[in-house]
Symmetry: C2
Subunit: 497 residues, 2 copies
C-alpha cells in the first residue's frame, strides 16, 4: 500500500494512527511542526495530541514555520498543551491566551528560528511532525504546499512523524529547493543570484531510522481567509503603481521592477492583485507566501516566476492551481523559510518588500504586531527580515479602521516593529509618502497630508505643533504621545476626548 507515496519499503510498517504517533510526545518536550501560513501543516497529529492531553496533561514548546490551519492552534490551546509557542500564529483562541499571559509567545523573525534551534537555544528538538506528499526511495521527505522550517525540523529532531497527505498532489514533487546552510564559522555563500535559481535538492534528506511514525491523512490545506480587493486596496495599488512608474521614469527602478516580496494577508494580497491592470510586465517574486495574487498575475501574463516558502490560496484558486500544478511547474519554487527570508539574498536581489502595518506614526515608525501597544495580533513574521535588508521597504495600511474610530496614523506608535531607519514608503488609500532621504521633521507633513485620513489630519498637526515646544531631531510631547490610544482604550474611539 501507498507504494508511490512511501517508496522506501522498509518504512511501510511504521504507518500508524495519529493517536499512536502522538504517544511520541510527552510533557516538557520541544516539538517542531510543518506548516507555514496555513499551508503544508501536519493535520491529524496536532488534533491527536490535543486528544492525548486529555488523559495525559502536558505542556510543550511548539515551533512551526509560521501559522497553522485547521484550528490546530485553537485545539491545542484549549487542550492546554501550549506552554511556549513560536514564531508566528494567527489563531483567535491562541491569541487570547497569549494576551492573557497563559501561553508564552516568542515573536521572532521567521529567518531566525532554525538558527536558534541549530545553535541549541531551545535544547534538543524532541519530535518533528512533518507533512509530506511522499517519502523517496532513500527516505527523503518530499514536502507539500510549504517548506517553512520543515527541512531543518526533520534534520534536527530526534524522532520524526511524517504525515503523508493523500489530498496533496504528488505533482508538488520537484517544486521544492531544499538548501540548508553549513555549520558556522565557515559557512559558504548562499548561491542564489536570481529568483529562479535552484541550488538544493528536491527532497529533505534524513536518516530513515529517525522516522518513527507515518500517518496517512486526507485533509486538504485550509483555504486562505484573505478578503478580496476593495475600493481602498485598489487605491493603495493605484498609488504604488503610479509611484513605481515615476521611479522607473527617473531611472531609479528597472522597467520590470525588482523582485517583489509581499506579506501575508488581505492588504498585501489585494494590493498585488491591483498589478494585474498595471503596465508592468515580466514581474517576479521572491517572497514567503504565494497568495491568490501570484497566480492571478501569472494567469494574466504579468508575472513570470515566483519563489516562496508556501502557497496559501483561496478555495477557488486552490482548486484551479493544485489540480493543474504541472502548468505552473516552471514558474514556481518553494524554499525553506530561512532561504526565502535570508538577509543575504534579500540584500543581493534588492527586493521591493511590501508588508502590512497595523499603524504608523508621523515619523514613519511602524507597529505591525501589538494592538494598542499591548495586545499581540499575529507576530512580526518575515517583515523584519525583509524591511531591514530590502532595497525598498513599503508598508501599506488603510488609513482608518473600525468605521473611523481608529486612525492608522498616530503621533507615536506604542510598539515599534519597524523603525524610521527601515521604513521607506508608507501608503494608504489616501496616498503615498516617500520617506527616503528625509529627516524626521521632513517626514511629518508628508505622512499627515498624504497618508492620514482627513478626519485625523488636524489632530495630528496639532500634536506636532505642540511637540515642537520640546524641540529635538524628533519632536514629541511625551505626555500626549499616546492620547489617541488611551482614548480608544477607554472610550472606544481615538477621536474621543
Amino acid at each position: 500500500m501507498f507504494e508511490d507515496r512511501i517508496r522506501l519499503a522498509s518504512l511501510r510498517d511504521r504507518v500508524m494512527s495519529a493517536d499512536d504517533a502522538a504517544k511520541l510526545v510527552g510533557d516538557g518536550m520541544v516539538v517542531g511542526m510543518s506548516g507555514f501560513t496555513r499551508a503544508g501543516d501536519a493535520k491529524d497529529m496536532p488534533l491527536a495530541l490535543a486528544r492525548r492531553a486529555q488523559a495525559h496533561p502536558m505542556k510543550i514548546t511548539l515551533i512551526t514555520g509560521a501559522s497553522l490551519g485547521h484550528d490546530s492552534d485553537k485545539t491545542l490551546t484549549e487542550a492546554g498543551v501550549l506552554g511556549k509557542r513560536l514564531p508566528f500564529q494567527v489563531d483567535t483562541t491562541l491569541r487570547s491566551a497569549i494576551n492573557r499571559g497563559e501561553v508564552m509567545f516568542v515573536d521572532q523573525h521567521l529567518s531566525e528560528t532554525v538558527e536558534f534551534l541549530r545553535a541549541g537555544q531551545f535544547g534538543k528538538l524532541d519530535v518533528a511532525a512533518i507533512e509530506a506528499v511522499a517519502i523517496t526511495e532513500d527516505g527523503g521527505l518530499v514536502p507539500s504546499s510549504s517548506v517553512g522550517n520543515s527541512a531543518s525540523f526533520a534534520i534536527l529532531a530526534e524522532k520524526v512523524i511524517v504525515e503523508i497527505n493523500l489530498a496533496q498532489p504528488l505533482a508538488f514533487e520537484g517544486m521544492h529547493d531544499i538548501w540548508i546552510p553549513g555549520q558556522r564559522p565557515h559557512r559558504d555563500p548562499l548561491p542564489i543570484v536570481d529568483v529562479r535559481d535552484r541550488v538544493g535538492t528536491s527532497a529533505v534528506k534524513i536518516a530513515p531510522e529517525k522516522i518513527a511514525a507515518i500517518v496517512i491523512t486526507h485533509t486538504p490545506d485550509s483555504a486562505s481567509n484573505a478578503l478580496p480587493p476593495d475600493a481602498q486596496t485598489r487605491n493603495i495599488a493605484g498609488h504604488l503603481i503610479e509611484f513605481f512608474q515615476h521611479e522607473v521614469s527617473r531611472g531609479r527602478l528597472p522597467r520590470t521592477l525588482p523582485a517583489i516580496q509581499s506579506g501575508i494577508g488581505t492588504i498585501a494580497n489585494a494590493v498585488l492583485m491591483g498589478f494585474v491592470d498595471s503596465p508592468f510586465e515580466q514581474l517576479t517574486m521572491y517572497s514567503e507566501v504565494l497568495q491568490d495574487s501570484t497566480f492571478e498575475l501569472m494567469d494574466a501574463g504579468k508575472m513570470v516566476f515566483a519563489s516562496g516558502s508556501s502557497i496559501t490560496v483561496s478555495q477557488s484558486v486552490q482548486d484551479r492551481v493544485f489540480g493543474d500544478l504541472a502548468r505552473y511547474r516552471d514558474q514556481l519554487v518553494l524554499r525553506p523559510q530561512e532561504v526565502s527570508n535570508h538577509p543575504e539574498v534579500i540584500r543581493r536581489l534588492g527586493l521591493i518588500a511590501l508588508n502590512t502595518a497595523l499603524e504608523a506614526d508621523i515619523y514613519g515608525n511602524v507597529n505591525s504586531t501589538h494592538v494598542g501597544g499591548t495586545h499581540m495580533m499575529n507576530g512580526i513574521g518575515g517583515s523584519g527580515d525583509f524591511a531591514r535588508n530590502a532595497r525598498m521597504a513599503i508598508f501599506a495600511t488603510k488609513s482608518v479602521a473600525k468605521d473611523g474610530r481608529i486612525s492608522s496614523i498616530v503621533p507615536m506608535v506604542p510598539h515599534v516593529d519597524h523603525n524610521e531607519h527601515d521604513v521607506d514608503i508608507l501608503v494608504t488609500e489616501q496616498g503615498l509618502a516617500d520617506l527616503r532621504t528625509l529627516a524626521p521633521r521632513e517626514r511629518v507633513k508628508l505622512v499627515i497630508d498624504n497618508c492620514a485620513h482627513p478626519s485625523y489630519r488636524e489632530v495630528l498637526r496639532d500634536y506636532y505643533r505642540d511637540a515642537q515646544r520640546y524641540a529635538g531631531h524628533t519632536p514629541h510631547a511625551l505626555e500626549r504621545a499616546f492620547e489617541m490610544h488611551i482614548n480608544l482604550r477607554d472610550r472606544g474611539s481615538m477621536l474621543a476626548g
Copy 2:
C-alpha cells in the same frame, strides 16, 4: 615632488590649495567626504569649504562614512554649509543644530548609504573629497586609516578631490580590501567566508581624469576620545565573560568565540578591553571600527585578526600602532563599510555583536539614539546592520547616568532603534539578562532584577504590576509609560515626582 605619493605623473599638476579645491563645491551640491569614526577624514577641504561659504553662502548635502574629526562638522555647521547631513555624526555643535531643526539629519544604517546613492536616491554625487596616502601609477586611490564610503564616493562622484595626507604612513598601503558589489539584479555573492579573507583590490580604481584636485595635507587623525575602562565597564566585561564561558560549556558557542563586532565609543571599547584578562584565545573581530581594545588584545596575544572599516585609537595607541604598522599587517584588513556591515557576511559568520544602548526597557527594546525620545545623540550607526543579522546581539550600558538621576532601564523606551525581536542580551554593571527564547512577560523580571540599578527596581516593578491591569502580550499602562522621562525632562531626575 611627491613622487612616492602621486605616482601617476600626469596628475601632479592638479596639486592645489584646499581653498582652490573648495571652489569645486557650490550651493545645492551633494558632496561625499571620506572619514569614518574620526579616521581617514579629509582634513583641509572641509575647513576650506567653511571659509568659502563666508563669501559664497551655500547649503550642501554632506554624506560621509560616519563621524568626522577635527571639528569639521562644527566648523561646517557654524558656516551654515550643512543643509542635509548623513549618515552619522558625533559633534556637539552639529547635534544642537540638528535638534533645533536647522540641519536635516538622516540617521541611516551605515551599510545602506551607498546603496541609496548608487540607486540615485540623492541624485548625482557632485564632488567627493577623499583622504588617501597615495595615488597609484594607474590613478587608483590608496585610502588611509579608514575606508568607510570612500571607494563608492570616488567611483560615483563626477569630480574627486584627493587629499594626500603626508602624516598618514604609506605603510597603510596593502592593508585595504576594496570590494564593491555589482549592479543588481544579478549581483554575485560577497565571497568573504572568513574574517581574514581578501576578495578585492588594495586601491580604489577610478578614471584618473575625474581627479579634479589634489590637496597635500599634514594633519594626523583626531585621536579617539573614548574614556578608559572603569569599575563599571570592568563589571560589564566580567558579566559577559562569565556568560560566554557558560555558553561555551553548554556547547552553544565555540571556544574561540565567533568573530566579534564592537560598536564605537567608551562602553564597547572598555568592555572589550576586559577580555585581555579573560581565558579566551584566538579571538577575531569583524567590525566597523577598530579601537584601542583591538590592539590591546592583539598585543596581549588574545586576538589573532581584526577586520574593520577604520582604525580610531587614542593618541598613545596611535603613536604605537601607526608608527609600527608593518607589525600588524598580517592581522588587519580595512574594508568598505558596506562590506564590514553587510547583512550577508554578518549572518554568514554568525557574529557576536556588541553595541551600546542609551536605554532599554523592561521588555528589551533599545533606544540607541534619542535622549528623552526627542534629541539626537549620534545616530544608529551600524548597530542595526549588526543586531538584526548577527548570531547574538548584545547591548551594554551602565544602569544609571548623571549621578543616578537617569535610569538606563525604563518602562518603555520613547524611541526604538532595536526592538525586542533583535535584542538578545542586555548587560549592565549590575548583571546580564539573556532574553533569547523568552516571551515579553518572561523578560521583565530578568531585566529588572539583573540589569536595573537597585534604586530603580521598585519603581519599575510597580509599573509592571500596574501595567498588567491592561493585560496583553506586552502589558503597558500607556498613561504612565513615560513618567520617568517626563520627570527627568521637567524636574531633572527620573526619580522625582
